[in-house]
Symmetry: C2
Subunit: 319 residues, 2 copies
């Protein structure tokens, strides 16, 4: 359902308006993991995550009438910023629904791009319900954070670029929440480099994707507990269909290892990554994957962190 | 005393063993300052600062006999790491003297590269005295952190690279402590792009370089008070001679502005810079320099920060 042409066209459509981020070899991480590690820096996108790619691809595919009426999305995180920023750039009205109790910084980080932000519902599910209702009422188009072919094709451009830069990667590891990045990556690998394996990495406290893959059906994410706040969602119908068919494995890793990996990246590489982005590296460092002497691509998916609440500073941290 | 050939040969000598760091345009910082801002990412060096350049150039110029006996340096910061790392790489014994009371993390960050670290003296001056005494006693060569032609030539390769990448910079702004980077930059600009101005930026609480330039003689740094812990030293004879002749201006900026600029870089660019590295940007953001519509190169000199003590987290911070 998302074809080679869809990914290629997504890449052309979004070119120039999202960064073609670097994919660089890391000497330090290679030494620590025993693999040859290549990093894709999606944290260097303007709104600091890969989410812009899918969001922009989706917005550019809107028919003129929908474009004129505007869009609505539900997200307290990176999807919100991606939609808000590119909608504003394109002169499209955007409404972002976040659950009540969302930290004020997340609200502001989305408002600053020109979106109308509303707080509704006590959970992601309730906020989504509200967003769908308002979409129907006002004729707004709902932009799903992952379960949409245009979103998946957009996220697939990350791995498409990686494989253009390094056509000999043995494996690519991505974080998995709703599965947009993982399914897009799996499709891109299948189309552009079938010998490249794709593996998902998930926090142990939100391991619904690993359980879904094991069960052969979507196991919803119920009361997930993890510091990786970008990976709380359940898989979608479309993303699961791809993941089930094309993803080799989903590995899980505890929050302590995620925090250590995140801190290592800040300390040694001088790059800010968010907890969700550190999950694949944490899995490698914990030995969850046998990567010795293999060429491993890791997607640093995002870099949005509240700098006043860092998990390794107990008195100020989240834990 | 440091010729065009010295800088060119330093560049050849250290090539391959230090990073040729990127020099990139920043859309965000350009918008915020009204200038066209280009950033040189010296924080991405292996030991996270430009100090490696001068240190390695100096080490490679050692006569065989001195190389065999080993080197000694006095530094609690980036010079220590630069000397320790490259000495170890080259199989040269290194001793690093730090003042008593130096935080344990700084000690460890230098030991990890294989240096013998000793704590001596209650101030930088006392530690330096001890280092000179021990150098004489054990036949070690003292590697000065800045007041040495080989060090200045090495630091000059930063601007040499910038001007190779962007030959139309109107001005380059660097932090100034002992003056190694500033004098090397001024020489490189004079040799490779005489139309490019060079400006130093200094914390108001350690403004000895600004006062020295105004007085026409070295005014020592006495009891400096600033968060920019890499910029506490007094100018040297050699660095001052260059700065006096070739540096247009030295601007000063308060610590609050330095912390804001540092946080801005972390938050918006997802890059870790240390307080000293944020001083030039702080000066721009405070309007200390008229840079409107000019092409301004800024050197992000380093990225070594204790991640458990961040200045914007009051309960954990330094202030």
């Amino acid at each position: 359902m998302v074809s080679l042409a869809d990914v290629r066209e997504a890449a052309k459509r979004i070119a120039g308006a999202v960064e073609r981020t670097p994919c660089l070899h890391s000497h330090t991480l290679s030494r620590l993991t025993g693999a040859e590690v290549f990093l894709k820096f999606e944290n260097l996108q303007f709104t600091a995550s890969f989410k812009e790619r899918g969001a922009l691809n989706r917005l550019l595919l809107l028919p003129a009438a929908e474009r004129q009426r505007g869009v609505i999305a539900m997200s307290a995180g990176n999807h919100a910023q991606g939609v808000a920023y590119h909608a504003a750039r394109l002169g499209i009205r955007s409404v972002i629904v976040m659950p009540k109790g969302t930290p004020n910084t997340k609200l502001k980080n989305t408002q600053v791009h020109g979106a109308e932000v509303v707080l509704e519902g006590d959970s992601l599910t309730e906020a989504a319900t509200h967003a769908h209702a308002r979409a129907a009422r006002e004729g707004l188009t709902f932009i799903h954070p992952y379960d949409d072919p245009a979103i998946i094709a957009g996220q697939g451009t990350v791995a498409m670029e990686m494989l253009a830069d390094r056509d000999d990667l043995d494996v690519i590891v991505t974080p998995v929440g709703g599965g947009g990045l993982l399914s897009g990556t799996a499709l891109a690998a299948a189309y552009f480099s079938p010998a490249t394996q794709v593996v998902g990495a998930e926090p142990a406290g939100a391991d619904d994707a690993a359980r879904s893959l094991a069960a052969g059906e979507i196991v919803p994410s119920v009361a997930p507990r993890t510091i990786a706040d970008g990976l709380l969602s359940s898989l979608g119908e479309l993303t699961f269909a791809v993941i089930r068919r094309l993803v080799e494995r989903i590995v899980t890793v505890g929050d302590d290892a995620v925090v250590s990996a995140m801190r290592l990246v800040w300390e040694r590489m001088k790059i800010v990554v968010e907890p969700s982005a550190a999950v694949p590296l944490a899995a490698l460092l914990e030995g969850e994957l046998d990567v010795a002497r293999r060429r491993v691509g890791i997607i640093f998916s995002g870099g949005n962190v509240d700098l006043t609440r860092l998990p390794w500073i107990p008195e100020a941290g989240l834990r």
